[in-house]
Each structure stands twice: as C-alpha cells, then as structure tokens.
C-alpha cells in the first residue's frame, strides 16, 4: 500500500474551560489514502468538527491539541510554528464549512475574497488572479463565472455560495479537504447536487476528502470508508458498505436503526435511549455504556480498538465478531 496522504495517530484535543477539561477529541487515529473519501459521522458534540479543526491547526482557545500526531504528506503538523502552519493551510489542506452564508465575507466581492486566498500562497497579478478565480468558479459549476466575480455573496443562492466556498478551498489543489457538514444548511435537492459535484471534483483532482456529517445517509452516498465518533473517540471504522451492513458497535447499530429510510413504513422509528453525555462528566469506561443495550460490568473499563487496519471497533461486546475474535 502506498504512503497515506494523511496519517492521524492518537490525536487528543482538549478544551480547558473554567468548568473543567473537556476532552473533545481523545486518542483519534485514522489514515487517508490519496483520493480517498472518508466519512466522519457522529452526533453533535461527538468531536467530529473539533477533529476537523485540529487537522488545520484551527482549534480556538481554550482548546488545544494536547497529544498525538498529524502527518500530512509525510510532514508532522502538530507543534509546527504558526506561520508554517498557515502556509500549509489552504495550500495542502483546506476546509469547507457548514453555512456558506456565514463563511463568505458579506462586504467583499467574490473576486476580492478569491484573490486574497490566492495571494496567501503565491504571487499573482490581479489579472492572473482574476483569470484563475473565474476558472475555479467554472470548475465548480457556476455559470457565467467571469461576470459573477464582481458580485457579493448575498447575490448568490445558498447552493451557489457553497460552490464558491468549495472553489476557494480548491484554489491551490490541496491534498486534503475537510468538509464540515457543507450541505446541512442547504435544501435537499441542492444537497444532492453539491454531493455529486464534490465527488466528481475530488476524483478529478485526486484530492482526498474528509466528509464530516451527522447524516449517515449523506456520508454513505459519498464515502468509501466511514468512521463513527462518539464522545470524542472513534468507536467504529471500516469500509462503508461493511459498516452499514454489519455494524459491530451497538452505537452504530442504533444510528442505523434510527434512519427513516431504513425503517419499515408506518412503524415508529427506533431511537437510541438517553442522550449524549456531557463532555465534562463522561461515565467511567465506555462512554456509551449508560445507553447501551449490551452493556455489562466489563464495560466500566474503556475498551481498546479491536480488529485490523481496515475494520476496527471499540467495544467489549461487538455485534459481529472478526474472524480472529471468533476463534
């Protein structure tokens, strides 16, 4: 297997609040091959967005990466000085956010915003920057791109705005794009368009994509591999089809059962009992224990990931056993 583009090992990001230490991300490890799409799934507060921000070194105080390693194209990002990190951001790893209404600056033209993103990493004449911006907008499917460069964000529809944000993220052809719920704020029909567009772009450009979402359906449509997060840890990881068909972690099972598309019509939707624990007072051992139908006394000890590099889960009582465990 070739060297992964992104290798995250034992990443922990904590927030040191007055109320106590919030372990938003704890011991997260995964790797990403060139051109691969990884879906990062979890409920709100599971640490999936903080994981995304950690990758770009954009965790706001009082949070910071306390340990672990992030290797992007062989280069360690954790502990890199700010200016070197800034140089990596946007050029080798970029990010698209949830709400395009909030991410673009309302008082600057699209051209200005794109030019700033270009000039952040290379020298370019205004004319060259404009040409490249127009090309980038055309690539993400914005019609009449050259003329629309002079428009302001409010003159675009939600879907078009998100395309602009994607175009900005793609300007320098980064190795990795972190997409933090980029379709959540959009209409369903627009969501599908953006999903298809993203899938096409990353395969064309050979960019790897981390798609963060709470929506299993969206993630499964796009990603070949999927990682499920709960309370700051990855609880299950594997090829999308396998995880969806044979989930090993009871939490993944619960998520799948609560999908409307999977339920029998007319029957009540299954729910996961209880709610996400407060990150300040996580239960001892497996954090899912209080909500888990399979919990036993053994679960008061934090389970270690079992399985192999392709398919892992963090559970004492997995629903499906790996061949090794079955023996």
């Amino acid at each position: 297997m070739t060297e992964p583009v992104l290798q995250v090992s034992a990443l922990s990001t904590h927030f040191f609040t007055k109320a106590g230490v919030v372990r938003a991300v704890e011991g997260v490890s995964f790797s990403l091959a060139r051109g691969e799409v990884l879906g990062l799934v979890g409920e709100s507060g599971s640490g999936k967005s903080v994981t995304g921000f950690s990758l770009l070194g954009l965790v706001d105080p009082p949070g910071r990466i306390v340990s672990g390693s992030i290797r992007l194209e062989g280069r360690e990002l954790v502990g890199l000085p700010n200016d070197e990190l800034r140089d990596v951001r946007g050029r080798r790893i970029a990010m698209v956010f949830q709400d395009p209404m909030m991410t673009l600056n309302p008082v600057l033209t699209i051209e200005r915003q794109m030019r700033l993103a270009i000039l952040a990493h290379e020298r370019a004449s205004p004319r060259a920057a404009r040409a490249r911006s127009a090309e980038a907008l055309t690539r993400v499917g914005i019609p009449d791109a050259a003329r629309r460069l002079d428009d302001y964000p409010h003159q675009f529809s939600g879907g078009m705005r998100q395309r602009v944000a994607i175009a900005i993220a793609l300007l320098h052809r980064p190795a990795v794009i972190v997409a933090d719920e980029p379709t959540t704020a959009l209409d369903v029909s627009i969501q599908a368009q953006i999903l298809a567009e993203m899938a096409k772009l990353v395969s064309e450009l050979g960019t790897s994509l981390i798609w963060i979402s709470h929506d299993l359906a969206v993630v499964s449509a796009l990603s070949r591999r999927i990682a499920v997060m709960y309370a700051g840890r990855i609880v299950e990881e594997g090829p999308t089809a396998v995880v969806l068909d044979e989930p090993r972690h009871p939490y993944t099972r619960g998520l799948l059962d609560s999908l409307p598309s999977r339920a029998e019509p007319g029957r009540e939707l299954a729910q996961i009992p209880g709610s996400t624990p407060s990150m300040l007072r996580l239960p001892e051992g497996c954090p899912f224990r209080p909500r888990c139908p399979r919990a036993s006394p053994a679960c008061t000890v934090m389970p270690e990931p079992t399985g192999d590099a392709v398919r892992r889960a963090r559970c004492h009582h997995p629903l499906v056993l790996t061949p090794a465990e079955a023996v």
């Binding site: 921000f53 770009l56 954009l58 706001d60 200016d83 800034r86 140089d87 990596v88 951001r89 946007g90 050029r91 970029a94 990010m95 956010f97 949830q98 709400d99 909030m102 991410t103 673009l104 600056n105 309302p106 008082v107 600057l108 033209t109 200005r112 700033l116 993103a117 000039l119 952040a120 990493h121 302001y152 409010h154 003159q155 944000a165 900005i168 993220a169 300007l171 320098h172």
Partner: protein, 324 residues
C-alpha cells in the same frame, strides 16, 4: 441608487422644515429681547418704534414665514448685539471650530480604531488591558478638568505649547485656516487632544467590540483555513466589517463636536462658534441663536445624509435597485 439618494434628500428637507419651526418657536418663548436691546429708561415711543423695526409686533406665524423666506434668500438676520449679518458672524467663527473638530475626530479615529482592533484581537494581553483602562479614563474624566491639566502640564510646567487662543492663519479658498501653519498646529494640539480623548475612548470601545465579535465568526475561520495571514485578515476582513458602525459614530461625533465644543473652546479661548453661542444665549441675541441652531441642524442632516451614502458604498447589501 438614485432613488435612494432622492428619498434621503427629501427626508432631509422635511427634517429641516420641522427643525426650523421648532427652533423658531422655542427661541421665541425664551425671554424678551427688547429688555436687553432698549435701556429701561427709554420712552414708550422709542420702545414701540424699536419693536416695530425688528418686526417683533407681528404675529408669531408671520414672523416665522418672514424668517423662513429670508433664510431661503440667504439672509439669516442681523445680530442684535454685534449689529452685523448673522451668517457672516457665524462664518467668521466656523472655520476655527471646524478645523479643531476635524483634527480631533479624525485623530481619534486614526488612533482609536487600530488600538481598538488590537484590544479586540488580543483581549487578554497586558497592552490591551492598558488600552482599555485608558479608554475608561477618557470616558469618565470630565473634559474641562483634562483641559486644565493639559494646560498646566504642557503649557505652564513644560512650556512646550501655548496655553490657548488660535495661532497664525493662512488663507485658503478665501477662508483663514490655522492648520496650514506650524504656529497654528502648536496652538491646535492641546485643544484638539482635549476634545479627542472622549472620542478616542469611544472609537477604541467600538472597534474592540466589533473585532471581538467578528473574530469568532466563521468568516474569519474560513479565511484562516484558506491560509490568510492574521495581518491580512485584520486589514482586509475585520477593518471592512467594523467600518460601518465606525462611520456612523464618526458622523454623529463630528456633528455633535462641531456644535458643542463649547467647553474646550472656553478653556482654550478658542475663537469658535461654541463661544459665540454661549455669549448669544447670555445676551438673548435671538437671531444668532436661531441661525446657529438652524445651521447645526443643517450640518447634522448633511452629515447623516453623507453617512447613509457612505454606508451604501461600504455595505453592498444596502445598495438597492441593482440586479442581483
């Protein structure tokens, strides 16, 4: 955009009409100028003759319409006290106040906005905390006291700067300006500093609040994710976003300082309009009071109109009538 301007100009005219009536009636109700104008031992004939000469025997509405008609033809009346046309009297004094105010407000903005942005960008740093502490002083210490301290320290104790009055002037566009001479600046520095301190504090607070709010938004996160340097983010994104409230306050402050720089002008014996209006009120010089208030209302309306237009330039969302 044109429709927007026309609408704003019409609004401004309406405000002026209402304002002129209010001022006229308000001032009419204050005291009787005849008592000041005519000595108490004058004969009844002289009294009647004087009252008729100034048109003070006419009904209120008639006086008002005469007054409005005169204003529209550029005649704002004669000062009872100085015996010269009011407009000329005010225009003689206005440049002094105008340059004092402009220097103070522009100086406060140029210094206050960067300081405020810094304090908002690094709220925890000791420098920021110092900036904020100084701004509290600027808000709470009375202007006249700071003025006296400035004179005591820089003029009396150190002897670096003159204690008051306006310096040498040079003529530009037919008006005498002291900002064009070195001596003029020497005289200007202390009163302008005195006048600027409160505005400086306000600009610092405003920029700081705006910056703090904006730094937490996704716009800034997205700009950082694109690899923009912090300096570029502050200069291009933050400055542009906080400029809208700053323009508003700049306009309002400019107007109110122009109208009410009285305290500073008095302390530094600055020959501006603030001093003039105080004297006119004391002497019941009605035409000066009315003309001054009308002029100030006019200035405010003009400034607000300009601010509105600048808004439209700064915030594309306000520009109407342009196809989306």
């Amino acid at each position: 955009m044109l429709g927007f301007i026309i609408q704003r100009v019409l609004q401004a005219m309406l405000v002026m009409a209402v304002m002129s009536a209010l001022v006229f009636i308000g001032v009419y109700a204050v005291g009787n100028p005849i008592d000041v104008l005519i000595s108490p031992d004058a004969t009844q004939d002289i009294r009647t003759e004087t009252i008729a000469r100034y048109g003070l025997d006419r009904p209120l509405y008639e006086q008002y319409f005469t007054f409005v008609g005169n204003i529209l033809s550029g005649d704002m009346g004669r000062s009872f006290v100085f015996g010269m046309p009011v407009l000329q009297l005010i225009m003689q004094r206005l440049p002094a106040t105008l340059e004092l105010t402009l220097v103070a407000v522009i100086g406060a903005t140029l210094a206050g906005v960067p300081l405020g942005i810094y304090a908002g960008y690094r709220p925890q740093s000791p420098i920021s905390k110092t900036i904020m502490a100084v701004s509290i002083l600027g808000f709470s210490v009375p202007t006249f006291w700071i003025g006296l301290i400035l004179i005591l320290f820089f003029a009396v104790h150190l002897g670096w700067l003159p204690a008051g009055s306006r310096g040498a002037t040079r003529s530009f566009l037919g008006v005498e300006w002291s900002v064009l001479t070195l001596d003029g600046w020497k005289h200007l520095v202390l009163p302008a500093t005195n006048l600027a301190l409160f505005k400086l504090a306000m600009m610092i607070r405003l920029s700081r609040a705006g910056t703090r709010e904006i730094m937490l938004t996704d716009t800034i996160k997205f700009a950082r994710a694109a690899g923009l340097s912090e300096w570029t983010i502050l200069r291009q994104h933050v400055l542009k976003l906080i400029s809208i409230p700053i323009v508003t306050v700049f306009g309002l402050e400019f107007g109110s300082t122009l109208a009410f720089a009285v305290v500073t002008e008095t302390i530094f014996s600055w020959p501006g309009v603030g001093k003039l209006i105080i004297d006119s009120i004391a002497q019941l010089d009605r035409p000066v009071m009315v003309a001054y208030l009308i002029l100030i209302a006019f200035l405010f309306v003009t400034i607000n109109l300009t601010v509105d237009l600048v808004y439209a330039l700064l915030d594309p969302r306000l520009r109407r009538g342009r196809a989306a």
